[in-house]
Symmetry: C2
Subunit: 328 residues, 2 copies
């Protein structure tokens, strides 16, 4: 894209001041899943890298609110709620309303940002810009997805990946921490590689042409990886350039937990395996919730300290590639 | 809400540098609709205030791209595309990808902002903050909705309102024009008053409990108006206070074209009828596209001149009320 100048951008003084995660109690093992998709547990583990996934028996807004309540703690109520999830609870109103309802609030501005699996990264940049321009002070960003409900058991490769989960953060202005750089691009030539074709005006639920499979998740993994491999390297280099950093300055990579391979692939871009957060084996691919869940997992295990350069990064349906770097 | 201080906020130097609108050729009159919903043409006109609505025979991204191409004209390609529509084309990827695809672009960042009928207002503030903080320079915002496809002919009151249309604007930094103020609030206690319950994880298309009506638009008009009447007046006062203006300083009110009554109601808040853009009789309620369509209609008819204070305002499913004031 012609717009990238290679120049360092101006950091925005914001910090994730608190955070929370909600993992459903019920766990589905590879053995349990194997009966549903007609593949062995070994095949599932080898191909997807996912050993266990959590399955929610509560609604998406209820799961989202669990994570949000932990993030909010005893602090004041947020002055903005952004839902940054991959799949909506219903078509109208937008899902942020139902998350606010579960939290028991009234009158808080709320809306959704949808950039498929990268919704959290896009929402974080939007929230940072809104805070920097004085529009809001304390923004709650919530990502929650029930990936398991969109599984197509006739497509074992993608059905083996998906799981349920939620994470939330509070973003506020900061004098020390900052968002150093953000980079995001979308290539519609990859739109067909990752889809849920139904649910909107294209293949409406009432449309007799809409098939069972149209309403479920479908992914052409090899096609996604082919595009991502070509585009990912330059994107990451541009992101660290924008931050005025080198790759070796990144203390922790928090990737989208697309699959076992989709996490390990960051070693090919020059990051040591021990600097890459990898929780896919126990969480699966939780769509837009995966990136903040991986971030919260790293925070909970003490892997992030003040002054660290933390890179959130991933690919999403679109095809989009995006990332940002936080100075903690 | 405790956060509003009554203080004037800092303006953001942005302008709508170009714009476009797409109205489908096919028009459905009240007489034609009367056969579908079992009400007379007079009943439709009297109750809804909508004489004609446009019906699209092309897809939502195609209609969106028509408006976007007019807005972009011969200018450079945008460095961000925001889809600010009420209903998605499909669940994944998000709809902005398909609009970019129709425009023939590759590699432009794109995502969706969803705040139901107020998506355009929320997207405009997000885009302004992104521009002000140096993240993007030329943002294309597109709102397109095929409201006619969500009509429930067994609910004549709401089916009489909806129509199809699209509008797009380009937002850029400006030294003269500005976004003076923005105000937006959401009350989940009104969530049930305006709904499309299906299409997401709540009442999934595959769920045997999902009914025909769940996948179509439903509105309890009297309940919406009761909430809006109570909350709207203070919201509008807070918005003009934030801009450091008085209501009499507003040169043009561009309301959501909810219904004939939903447009005329702004006279009750102290605005003269000739300062309120009213295109609902010929366009109907085009969900999130209605506000930018009304704005572009006013621009095309020469009603907006440099230095004018233009207020965009509306209520949306949520229930949300939101508005912003542009110094043109």
């Amino acid at each position: 894209l012609t717009y990238f100048t290679g120049a360092k951008v101006k950091p925005i003084g914001v910090e994730i001041s608190s955070f929370g995660m909600a993992l459903p109690d019920e766990i589905e093992s590879a053995v349990q899943l194997s009966k549903k998709i007609g593949r062995s547990a070994d095949w599932i583990k080898r191909r997807s890298g996912v050993l266990n996934r959590h399955i929610s028996n509560i609604s998406m807004p209820e799961l989202a609110a669990k994570a949000a309540r932990i993030a909010l703690g005893d602090g004041p109520r947020p002055d903005l709620i952004i839902n940054a999830s991959g799949v909506a609870y219903q078509v109208l109103p937008d899902t942020s309303v139902f998350i606010q309802q579960e939290l028991g609030f009234e009158g808080i501005p709320s809306f959704s940002i949808h950039a498929t699996c990268l919704s959290f990264i896009v929402a974080l940049q939007n929230a940072a810009s809104l805070i920097e321009t004085g529009v809001y002070e304390r923004v709650l960003i919530v990502s929650a997805d029930l990936g398991s409900r969109g599984r197509n058991f006739d497509e074992p490769e993608s059905a083996a990946l998906l799981g349920d989960g939620a994470a939330a953060v509070v973003l506020e202005a900061s004098e020390s921490a900052s968002l150093l750089a953000y980079h995001f691009k979308t290539w519609p030539s990859g739109a067909k590689h990752t889809e849920v074709r139904g649910g909107g005006t294209r293949l409406h639920p009432q449309n007799p042409k809409t098939t069972h499979a149209d309403n479920l998740f479908s992914m052409n993994g090899p096609a996604v990886f082919k595009m991502a491999r070509k585009l990912g390297g330059p994107m990451i280099q541009e992101l660290v350039d924008k931050a005025g950093l080198k790759k070796s300055d990144i203390d922790l990579v928090v990737p989208h937990q697309a699959s076992g391979f989709g996490v390990r692939v960051y070693t090919r871009y020059g990051f040591d395996e021990d600097k890459i957060v990898n929780v896919v084996a126990e969480q699966g691919n939780c769509v837009a919730a995966s990136i903040p869940m991986a971030l919260v997992s790293a925070l909970q295990s003490g892997r992030i300290k003040s002054g660290d350069n933390i890179m959130l990064i991933g690919t999403g349906a679109g095809l989009s590639i995006g990332g940002l770097i936080l100075r903690w």
